[in-house]
Subunit: 342 residues, 2 copies
Amino acid sequence: MTEKQFEFSEKKVRVYFGGNFNMLGEMLDKESAVLITDDNIYSHHSEKFAGWKTIVLRAGEKFKNQKTVDEIINRLIELHADRQTFIVGIGGGVVTDITGYAASVYMRGVQFGFVPTSILGMVDASVGGKNGVDVGVYKNLVGTITHPRFLLYDYSFLETLPKKEWINGFAEIIKHACIKDRNMFDFLKENTLDYFRDSIDNTGTLIQKNVEIKYNIVANDERETGDRKLLNFGHTLGHAIENTAGLPHGSAISIGMIAACAISEKINGFPAFATKEVEQLLSLYQLPVSYAVDKERTWQVLLHDKKKSGKDMNFIVLNEIGKASVKKIPLSELKEIFFNLS
Amino acid sequence: MTEKQFEFSEKKVRVYFGGNFNMLGEMLDKESAVLITDDNIYSHHSEKFAGWKTIVLRAGEKFKNQKTVDEIINRLIELHADRQTFIVGIGGGVVTDITGYAASVYMRGVQFGFVPTSILGMVDASVGGKNGVDVGVYKNLVGTITHPRFLLYDYSFLETLPKKEWINGFAEIIKHACIKDRNMFDFLKENTLDYFRDSIDNTGTLIQKNVEIKYNIVANDERETGDRKLLNFGHTLGHAIENTAGLPHGSAISIGMIAACAISEKINGFPAFATKEVEQLLSLYQLPVSYAVDKERTWQVLLHDKKKSGKDMNFIVLNEIGKASVKKIPLSELKEIFFNLS
């Protein structure tokens, strides 16, 4: 027998903070580009899409599935999209996740960029290259890790963002503070959701800080073998209840973070007063901190979490506010703790 | 506005020439691995799969579509496959293309390897990281470029390979000779299909040579921006007639190579006697060199070829036997030549 070994390698992401949607007209050729958005964004900003080939998706997490990807692929064929076509996803996390996925597999990958329009999209979903769709109740079960060529931040989209979407987005900002940045945690404590809603400038600065936190983690661990796992803080339980209970992502992971704090107390010496502090900050940003979870059903979904590894779960715990670790917990032990959470 | 830039990077492929299927038992944990094959291979080699979790697909190109991928994803969920699961595709090009694609997107990518069982799979389909499925008549329109962790060549699978599949595979071997290796072209001229069918050892040597030719091209141009395009020799017309006419891949690209030789004569000074030589070699290996093509329909499919770039086609022409180039041909000119081919 002969054994041989062959080697390979890839990407740069340009990020424009405080840019303007109209820059797309300078960056891309309208003839060969395809924009993808949802009917919500399109109805608020239809004038922006004039002259662009645009695919308009139905808005909402329930359309974040393979069927929508299949529809996008068929539309791309109809539009004669080829390898030179540049695709731009304009919207919240659902639109950018699904656009990134469709662009990553169409013709084995065409170039794409994002214009995130929600806080959640700006600080989290569009950042880091993860894309994909849900399969039934399993969140993001199918997808790829492929970075966009650019991220264009046009904060004017935030002017039409409903308050509930601001709340949704701050869950991920608080998550970043919990796992990586005690100073940002304290800064958030000193302010309120309305403070940021009233000042796009301050929000812009906060968004840029959060993108940098996330990129610093991702750049060192693109395939999530180490530090990137920390970004899943609150997401193991969060994802499991998100689709089973039909909660918004931010609400689900807010509850997930509180549960993860309680588990951190039990297995990682995280102090109870710190859990209280996290709870207070989430409440300050109007996020829910408790929910009547259907534990049996949630557990069944949790067993399919991507962070499960054989008979263990890679669970994210806090050491202190601003510092997190990955703990491999046997599923049997996690189940015991989970079913005993109040 | 602030502009920032973030950077990233990836892989090694182990190739075991002349190995044995049973090595899988040493390389992988039967508990956590999942094998994917088709009912054809499974019926001939069911004993090999004893004790392994196995997904058996229906054999044939017509099942190489998203629906089959969706079925695989659902089976992986049922089997509780997680990020530690190792998936192995065992079969011809359809099985390895679809397995590589499903593994690349399940949980955003789990590890996988291939045991190619056909000549075509061994010298081409399983080599180079391209995977995917067809969308209607459009070949491999959706997929990724993701390398397997290993390729395990067990030549004993060739003992049950039908003669028509040998013929199919030699089309790609002759393609490699045409674009890169005049010596191999001459060596093939001196032998016959039966010579190789009667000697697994000689076939093994030929296969290894072809894998090395392809890997050398791919390693230098993974994303097909340069030399890798040469591997598409015969494939632009080939793919267009493969699914419209329902021809085997080898037959379709054999006809495609002859057409590409005729086009090379017209636009690249390729000598007519050399086209004759290619035709004779294809005939020696029992491949068809002409076919009554439905030109209008073929042209419509060709317009969706992945090698189309705006108003041009990146077409592969021969300079001489063993040397090829990419020529950007305006679609209007290609259409003119194509409709005038005898």
